[in-house]
């Protein structure tokens, strides 16, 4: 009893310390079918009567789309603010804003308001070039998610992917919603299997630019490219650990296809799988201790887990004859992979015990290369359901599959981490 009292007192002291430090405390309740928050998005108004020509991109529709993608809101859009209408629809929170022009810049004043007290929950001003209005809108969407849910949003994140141009494939980067597709390489060769660095500032990928498939690192902002592997055999499917800054990849440098790890500059290379089977597609767990990978040691490709030294190998998938492309969820609780059936791939998730296998796509083209959003709520993947290969988003449970690109030449998407 005395101990209990002591513990209780310590807890009270501790929490008051925390509160004293002005820390916001948030509790997230997670359960299936939890009600989404009702939110209104009001079209932004020009600050003065003559704010100049109308904005090319309407930031409020960008925000509305972001909030829908976040999976946390039921969004209703309004052209003007009508609080009575908001109350009738049980909408407790709304987003509104003003825009104006100052020289070359567009100034956006964005707010989240309580619909009953009309008090401000948060407000931000962005002064950006007109072509960066989407970026500012994404940043504000993340601000709204953070203020209302206490978690980082993913609206400011990006996706790296492979785009086919004739016989060449180039590495491209785009916003998470498919906009602003930008080429990162333009060497007119094959460039494959890109992956972000943990700081989102560079991309590691396989390129045939010097004849043989080697791993290269390109700075997104600097454009500087460094070759990481020096052998003239096959090196591919990199995964960059945020914990010890090592890159795991598959290589045939010693004959068979095995998994190796190396430092981010290509040094301290270490082979971690042995044997004559194909071992490929490594992906680090979020804590960096384990690696999930594909091996055909039983005669066909299946998904396995090992620790980052190559020991404690265990098989994860037993259903299906061809499973590949495993990726860890950011919370580390499940792995998504693809399974081949009738010449087409579909996307599955499985928990770390190999149970709870869930099929997320079905009878809708070939669906490949799933990658989790940094909050683990969404997956990006490529699908041939509309003819060419395009990128789609869906909830981590397979709901709300939404096409985000329309060029028919994109594949191998990988989601970035959070942008600070």
């Amino acid at each position: 009893m005395r101990y209990l009292l002591l513990v209780a007192m310590m807890l009270i002291c501790f929490s008051s310390l925390l509160l004293g430090a002005g820390e916001d405390l948030f509790i997230e309740v997670e359960s299936e079918g939890i009600q989404k928050m009702e939110i209104g998005v009001i079209a932004f108004q020009p600050k003065q009567a003559e704010s100049g020509p109308p904005l090319t991109g309407a930031p409020w529709t960008v925000v509305a789309t972001d909030l829908r993608f976040s999976g946390r809101f039921n969004v209703t859009e309004f052209s003007v603010l009508d609080t009575a209408e908001l109350h009738r629809k049980n909408i407790a929170v709304f987003i509104d804003g003003k825009w104006s022009r100052e020289g070359e810049k567009v100034v956006l004043d964005c707010f989240v308001h309580d619909a009953f007290t009309l008090s401000q929950i948060t407000g931000k001003q962005y002064s950006v070039r007109e072509k960066d209005v989407r970026r500012a809108s994404h940043l504000f969407s993340d601000e709204a998610v953070f203020r209302l849910f206490g978690e980082k949003g993913i609206a400011s994140t990006r996706i790296v992917c492979v785009a086919q141009f004739g016989k060449a494939k180039e590495i491209c980067i785009m916003d998470y919603d498919g906009y602003n597709l930008t080429r990162l390489t333009s060497n007119n060769q094959l460039n494959l299997s890109p992956c972000f660095s943990p700081d989102n500032k560079s991309v590691v990928y396989t390129s045939y630019r010097q004849g043989t498939p080697a791993l290269y690192k390109t700075g997104i902002y600097t454009g500087k490219t460094v070759r990481l592997t020096t052998n003239n055999r096959l090196n591919f499917s990199p995964s960059w650990s945020s914990v010890d800054d090592r890159i795991a990849f598959a290589s045939t440098m010693n004959g068979d296809c095995d998994i190796y790890t190396m430092d981010a500059d290509g040094g301290a290379m270490k082979r971690i799988t042995m044997g004559g089977a194909i071992e490929s597609s490594p992906c680090y767990s979020p804590n960096g201790y384990e690696i999930t990978f594909t091996s055909d040691r039983t005669g066909n490709p299946q998904v396995y887990i090992m620790d980052n030294e190559g020991t404690h190998i265990r098989r994860l998938t037993f259903e299906g004859k061809y499973n590949d492309a495993p990726t860890w969820s950011p919370k580390g609780d499940k792995i998504t992979y693809i399974s081949l059936e009738k010449a087409r791939f579909d996307i599955y998730t499985v928990d770390l015990e190999g149970s709870n296998v869930k099929r997320l796509t079905q009878e809708n083209g070939s669906n490949e290369h799933p990658s989790f959003s940094p909050d683990g709520r969404l997956l990006v993947f490529s699908s041939t359901r509309a003819g060419g290969s395009d990128l789609y988003l869906m909830g981590a449970d397979g709901t709300d599959q939404t096409r985000i690109t329309f060029t028919g030449n994109l594949s191998s998407p990988e989601w970035s981490g959070y942008y600070e």
Binding site: K167, K169, L190, L192, S193, G211, T212, P213, N232, R233, L234, F236, S237, A250, T252, G255, C257, I278, S280, S281, T294, D296, N300, P301, Y322, D324, A325, I338, L340, A343, F345, E368, H369, S411, S412
Partner: protein, 172 residues
């Protein structure tokens, strides 16, 4: 098996109306006889054997280095092209000035990454044979294109078969 079944059925009908114990004895006796008959028949069938013809491909000297093809998801060299590999090795061993680029390719029915490894394995299988036949490994350049360079983009077995290949390029 069908022979046994047939004889058993005959035996059962022959012993209809007798007591249970008798039936069992009769079945045991005939079972022994049936087995012998069956074994004779199997031996005769197997003795006939199936005709196996050495289906060696006939390749003129100027297209010695044409593509070789593989089964789905396999990297074993087909026995029918082994003699061509021997001739290729002989050519490589006489003409020491050339190197050989061996490209492994796959059909699209597989994941991009696994196919890269599989293409490499196919190229390596061809290189292994040529190496055993005396071609120096430095003159054999292995590269995999996975499923990235299909010859035929249509989605049917004929196209897939055409794409599962190792392509040779003689470089001076």
């Amino acid at each position: 098996m069908t022979v046994v079944g047939f004889l058993l059925a005959a035996c059962v009908s022959a012993f209809k109306g007798t007591k249970k114990g008798d039936l069992l004895d009769g079945r045991q006796q005939l079972k022994g006889a049936a087995r012998e008959v069956h074994e004779i028949k199997v031996a005769e069938e197997e003795g006939n054997g199936r005709d196996l013809r050495w289906r060696e491909e006939i390749v003129p000297e100027d297209s010695l280095f044409q593509d070789i093809y593989f089964e789905y998801n396999r990297s074993e060299i087909d026995t029918t092209v082994l003699s061509r590999l021997v001739r290729m090795a002989r050519r490589m061993n006489t003409d020491k000035g050339v190197t050989l680029r061996i490209e492994g390719h796959c059909d699209e029915r597989g994941s991009q990454e696994y196919n890269l490894a599989l293409g490499e394995r196919r190229a390596a299988a061809a290189a292994l044979y040529l190496g055993r036949l005396g071609v120096e490994s430095v003159r054999l350049e292995i590269i995999s294109f996975g499923e990235e360079r299909p010859l035929d983009r249509s989605e049917n077995e004929a196209a897939y078969a055409k794409n599962r290949r190792v392509h040779f390029e003689v470089k001076p």
